[in-house]
């Protein structure tokens, strides 16, 4: 993979948080002369796309979110619909089939790349802009780059559910939480932002398959992660 991803530069291997992946996807889109992108999970038949999902990434401007009110786009949207069925990347002319994902007038065309996680969950990267239809070779390269970035995104960010064991930072935070510290207090103690502390807590909740801090502390105590 490092060889295949070489043209993506060293940043692919260096990406550690959602911001970094935002930058990578955005760079991919800009390089292809597109403007916006949405990376989202495409799930069940009648469900739409939730742009507020913690796993989604996008750079859609608020103004383009138009009717969706920034929340989600229905399953009937032509882009969403086709993304659910497709297994290969495809190009769409939005003038013929306008999409609610990007507001009218914001983009004239779209390229969608279906993506898969090893856990058989389906994602899709959709790029919006005014560029014309790429030839098959260009489309294949876009799909390859998207897949490479997505694979890394999965490894670094999405696969937390299947990872057991906490890293040192996470254990520190669980320990402070067990002593009744709030995220803000822990942030000050550890010299981090509250956001980062909460990111760690969210990651721990997912790793331990629990839903709140009390369960987190109890589970960590039971399994001997903290004393």
């Amino acid at each position: 993979m490092p060889d295949a991803a070489y043209h993506l530069g060293p940043e692919l291997d260096r990406a550690v948080n959602r911001m970094d992946f935002f930058r990578l996807f955005k760079a991919l889109v800009i390089n292809q002369n597109f403007l916006y992108f949405v990376l989202s999970e495409v799930s069940g038949d009648d469900e739409g796309v939730n742009l507020l999902s913690p796993h989604a990434l996008h750079n859609l401007p608020d103004s383009s979110l138009g009717k969706t009110n920034g929340k989600s786009v229905g399953a009937a949207d032509p882009v969403v619909l086709r993304s659910k069925l497709a297994t290969a990347p495809f190009f769409m002319d939005l003038l013929a089939q306008p999409s609610d994902l990007v507001g009218a007038g914001n983009a004239r065309s779209a390229i969608a790349v279906p993506l898969h996680t090893v856990a058989a969950r389906r994602y899709c990267l959709v790029m919006f802009g005014d560029a014309g239809e790429p030839d098959r070779g260009e489309l294949a390269l876009i799909a390859l780059d998207a897949a490479l970035i997505f694979q890394r995104y999965y490894e670094v960010i999405l696969s937390l559910d299947s990872i057991t064991g906490l890293n040192d930072r996470e254990i520190q935070i669980v320990r402070w939480t067990s002593e009744g510290k709030t995220s803000a207090e822990i942030a000050i103690i550890l010299g981090l932002s509250e956001h980062t502390v909460n990111s760690y807590i969210a990651a721990v909740l997912r790793k331990l398959h629990v839903v709140n801090r009390a369960q987190m502390v109890a589970s960590a105590l039971r399994s001997g992660l903290i004393a």
Binding site: R14, N17, M19, R23, H58, P61, N212, R213
Partner: protein, 143 residues
């Protein structure tokens, strides 16, 4: 940053020793959709520390190289020591140096190249770092 609360303008602090960057960022922020964003500007880390201590700063954009400091590893911790717990992003015209990889250890939340900054990136940063990552049942009143 609860969305239920009355909208207070979000305040960004730019720390950069080149005043031109202030001018440029100001214009970029003006183009961002949504609620207005306030921008404060200081040219050195000492002023930045004063500024965060004074309060009201929601997010800091910190230039990587502030003369005479070496890089963010010397400056970002100073803001944390001042008790700032909001997000800190490092901005630089070049973020390819390998030491950038260590940014989480120095209390930094993200890194961004100066040429990558545009209105959609600002939107993403605002959304990402004001988002409540923990569901409501994970509120802190569990004790």
């Amino acid at each position: 940053m609860n969305s239920d609360q009355p909208q207070q303008p979000m305040k960004i602090l730019l720390v950069d020793d080149d005043p031109a960057e202030h001018l440029l960022l100001r214009r970029t922020l003006d183009k961002v959709d949504g609620p207005p964003l306030e921008l404060d500007y200081v040219a050195d880390i000492a002023s930045a520390v004063e500024s965060v201590k004074a309060g009201g700063i929601d997010i800091v954009f910190l230039d990587n190289r502030l003369v005479p400091n070496n890089d963010f590893r010397e400056t970002a911790p100073q803001l944390r020591e001042a008790g700032f717990i909001g997000p800190i992003g490092i901005i630089s015209s070049d973020i390819s140096g390998s030491y950038f990889q260590e940014f989480p250890e120095f209390g930094v939340d993200f890194r961004i190249g100066k040429s990558e900054i545009d209105r959609t990136t600002i939107s993403f940063i605002i959304a990402e770092y004001t988002r409540n990552q923990l569901s409501d049942n994970c509120a802190e009143d569990f004790s």
